[in-house]
Symmetry: C2
Subunit: 247 residues, 2 copies
């Protein structure tokens, strides 16, 4: 599989409230699963505070390294919402009130008195950005260069994510198959599993324990882009397990 | 508040399974909340794949920048568990089978045949590290320099985290107070809230919307280390809200 057919991504979560533990992030898991399903490889996630220098530095590093950078959080009307300005800086472009965004906000705030200075901050969009529709509260997200800027509120983020996906490149999907270890502990199959991994260099094999308070349940997950290779590797894992005594 | 009284931290989550979306992380939110409660400021989180170069680079960057780096994941017996070796590399120390860790594993695997090569991988501990007890499955975590290495399975991570905390420095706690906006939308108070923020430079004020599918509920969160300053800022926020018409 050539690297040319790969589409990679990072997520940058902008939010003091996540770092303080006050809010539990729900966006990373949602996007991770969705990206895998459509053929975008999520390679890195960062969570940074609402501090300009931190956001700009992380946005530059991640947008330079991956096909896409998705950000969540910090695009509301209050003083702590600084994402749009930071992303403009990271992208090296100017930012201003965008008439397309103002028009969207007018749909929500038809009375001119309600479209006050703070709400107009939500219409600050970097020059050259495409807007991303927000069906819930109208204030749009945007895409500038390879950076996709979305709200932090999960239902709005999800709507924006679905709206922007058709505009993005996707690559060959990394497909996966889970094989239950049949109650066998990881230590019973670890060496043999390492040997299977060596036979299949185009396959990513991981072993994932979970613990229900009494015992471990282990899942071996095989991932590959080629379905034939995936099936062969999964078969080899199952055959390896079958040579071991039952749990 | 001087910076000397601050204790900062980062979390590095090591796990293909989080990036693929197969597993939803529960450790970040748990640790974030706990750190805030004990007086450790969580400043950054990164999630990276099970790739040596990625883990080593992130561990060096984060341990160099913050008082502590906490890692989760990748310390089991299978071939994809490479955290201990990567952290030894990041810390610039050697790594080997550690007899203290072997003794702990013997408690779980008294039959010498069961303590096989793969399980002995869990006794690979960087030179000079202190062990962190794992009451659930014995294989220990460890602390080397300012890096704390823990399991990814949440119940084990939580036990390790509680075990290591008494050994760590903690700083002045960042206390917080939430003020409900009383149904007022963010845009109605954003400008006035920004003015309150300007009056209280030692206070971090954030506004956090949530959406239940029908309407927004907004919480204004005021955070400060000095309880008198916190109370004064919270009072100023409430007084500001009281000048606005009810929702």
């Amino acid at each position: 599989m050539s690297e040319q057919n790969l589409v990679t991504a990072a997520i940058l979560v902008i939010g003091d409230e996540i770092l303080s533990g006050r809010t539990k992030d729900k966006n990373i898991g949602y996007m991770a699963e969705y990206m895998t399903a459509v053929g975008i490889d999520l390679r890195e996630v960062r969570v940074v505070p609402d501090i300009e220098e931190e956001i700009v530095t992380a946005a530059k590093a991640l947008s330079g390294r991956y096909t896409y950078l998705f950000t969540t959080g910090g695009i509301g009307p209050t003083h702590d919402d600084i994402t749009a300005d930071c992303i403009a800086k990271a992208a090296g472009v100017g930012i201003d009130i965008d008439e397309r965004a103002v028009a969207l906000l007018r749909e929500r705030f038809p009375n001119p008195d309600d479209l006050n200075e703070a709400r107009l901050r939500m219409a600050r969009i970097p020059h050259g950005a495409e807007l991303i529709d927000n069906p819930i509260s109208r204030a749009p997200g945007f895409m500038i260069q390879n950076i996709i800027v979305m709200a932090g509120v999960p239902s709005i983020m999800q709507a924006m994510f679905e709206n922007v996906l058709p505009r993005l490149k996707t690559g060959a999907k990394l497909q996966s198959q889970s094989i239950d270890s049949g109650g066998r502990p990881e230590g019973a199959y670890a060496t043999a599993l390492g040997q299977v991994q060596k036979q299949f260099s185009d396959v990513i094999i991981g072993s994932y324990p979970s613990f229900d308070g009494k015992r471990f349940q282990n899942q071996i997950v095989v991932r590959a882009r080629d379905p034939h290779v995936l099936a062969a590797a999964a078969e080899a894992v199952q055959a390896m397990l079958d040579t071991l005594p039952p749990a």
